[in-house]
């Protein structure tokens, strides 16, 4: 069954309960376990790493400070100074997604962000924050987001329709982008891994040729590392851009 598992590229996305034999409403599953691991890893970096609070930082503290300054400059750059009130939110989001993606690259682990429900929950949370904050801050003026100024009245209904559709599609594109990238990358890695196993078992000549998919796995892993970091960054920066709409709706 182990060999068959290696070939089945979908098996890695299965949700496996730990303490019961079926998946209930709040069952602790492998997905839950890796969410806890992600939070523990981020907390270790950000809390244990900075516990000495030294003036001249060590390795962990340096990494924690870099993460802080990177996200802070991203938030400040795309959502302005006022956007810094959402800094803890964007930071938590970025670190959660980044660590989920990176931990998921380790063999035999589970990738939290390869589940559409997780990425969609994040996207819905972002859009929910945008809508709630925008309405709280600007009231009905927030709806000007859908009514750009300087458009002729004839075109206005179409423009408003387009703006509404683009706003509604945001959580979908935000969630599907991350989910699809993770899913596709992991399936590709698994498929190439399956090639290696198959070719090793099929004969001497193919066993020698199995070095080719193995090399492809190495390259793909490097590529997936890039994708993991890049998608976390894209998720964070788009969150900032949407939050900027909530802060300054009259663009």
């Amino acid at each position: 069954m182990a060999a068959e598992n290696a070939i089945d590229p979908i098996h890695q996305f299965n949700i496996v309960p730990f303490f019961s034999d079926h998946v209930g409403t709040a069952t602790f599953t492998n997905a839950s376990l890796f969410m806890v691991i992600v939070v523990a890893a981020v907390s270790f970096l950000m809390i244990v790493g900075t516990s000495s609070q030294s003036l001249v930082p060590g390795r962990l503290q340096s990494a924690a400070e870099m993460a802080y300054e990177f996200v802070a400059s991203t938030v400040r750059g795309s959502a302005g100074h006022e956007g810094m009130r959402f800094f803890p939110f964007v930071f938590s989001l970025f670190m959660f997604v980044l660590f989920s993606n990176l931990i998921g690259l380790v063999p035999y682990t589970f990738t939290v962000t390869s589940q559409i429900i997780v990425t969609f929950a994040f996207a819905a949370l972002v859009i929910g924050v945008v809508i709630v904050y925008g309405l709280m801050r600007h009231g009905s003026h927030f709806l000007h987001l859908f009514v750009p100024s300087g458009v002729s009245p004839i075109l206005m209904p179409f423009i408003v329709l387009i703006e509404v559709i683009s706003f509604i599609s945001r959580p979908i594109s935000l969630s599907v982008r991350l989910f699809a990238n993770m899913l596709a990358g992991h399936i590709t890695l698994k498929v190439f891994g399956g090639f290696v196993t198959l070719m090793l078992g099929a004969g001497a000549l193919t066993a020698v040729a199995s070095i080719l998919p193995l090399a492809a796995i190495v390259l793909l892993t490097a590529f997936e590392l890039l994708v993991a970091v890049l998608q976390a960054y894209v998720f964070a920066i788009l969150t900032c851009v949407y939050l900027n709409d909530a802060i300054h709706p009259g663009h």
Binding site: F13, P17, M35, V36, P57, P88, F89, F91, S92
Partner: protein, 180 residues
């Protein structure tokens, strides 16, 4: 039936009948619940502990750097002031030394001048005294000329005539000659 498909003990290759795991709605609820728990915990830990701490570290470092730079600037100012004070001391000392030298030179010059003047005055006085003495001697000598001439006239007359002439007449004659 659903339990059979999603229990996690499912046999690979058999899930064609079941949903693709990421799209299986049975898996949504536990993931959402645990995501809410874990992400909530992460947000709490980050916003309450980690981020204020990092902000504090960065702030402290910035303050330390600014403070050190300020201290360095202040110290440079002090060094500059000390240098200026040193320069001033040196210049003052030089000025004083020059003044002292000038004073000494003036004093020595004045002293030698005074000495020279005193010497000159003394010499002049001596010269004058000598001149006076010469004049006195000359006067005296001139006054003696009369009596010498009288005695000589008396002796000459006595030699020639053998008569002792009248002294008063000779004196009158000498005086007449002298005034001539």
């Amino acid at each position: 039936m659903a339990d059979d498909t999603h229990s996690g003990t499912q046999v690979p290759g058999e899930h064609g009948g079941g949903a693709f795991p990421p799209f299986d709605a049975n898996n949504f609820a536990p993931q959402l619940v645990w995501l809410a728990i874990t992400f909530g915990a992460l947000y709490f830990l980050m916003s309450r502990i980690a981020l204020p701490r990092v902000a504090n570290i960065l702030d402290n470092r910035q303050k330390k750097i600014t403070g050190d730079l300020d201290a360095a600037t202040a110290m440079r100012g002090q060094a500059d002031a000390a240098g200026a004070a040193y320069e001033k001391t040196v210049a003052d000392a030089k000025g004083r030394a020059q003044a002292t030298a000038q004073q000494t030179r003036d004093k020595v010059a004045a002293e030698s001048d005074a000495q020279r003047k005193a010497l000159e005055a003394e010499l002049n006085a001596k010269l004058e005294a000598a001149e006076q003495q010469i004049a006195a001697t000359k006067t005296q000598a001139m006054s003696n000329v009369g009596s010498i001439a009288q005695e000589a006239a008396e002796a000459i007359i006595r030699q020639i005539t053998g008569v002792t002439p009248d002294a008063a007449k000779i004196a009158a004659a000498v005086a007449a000659a002298k005034n001539g």
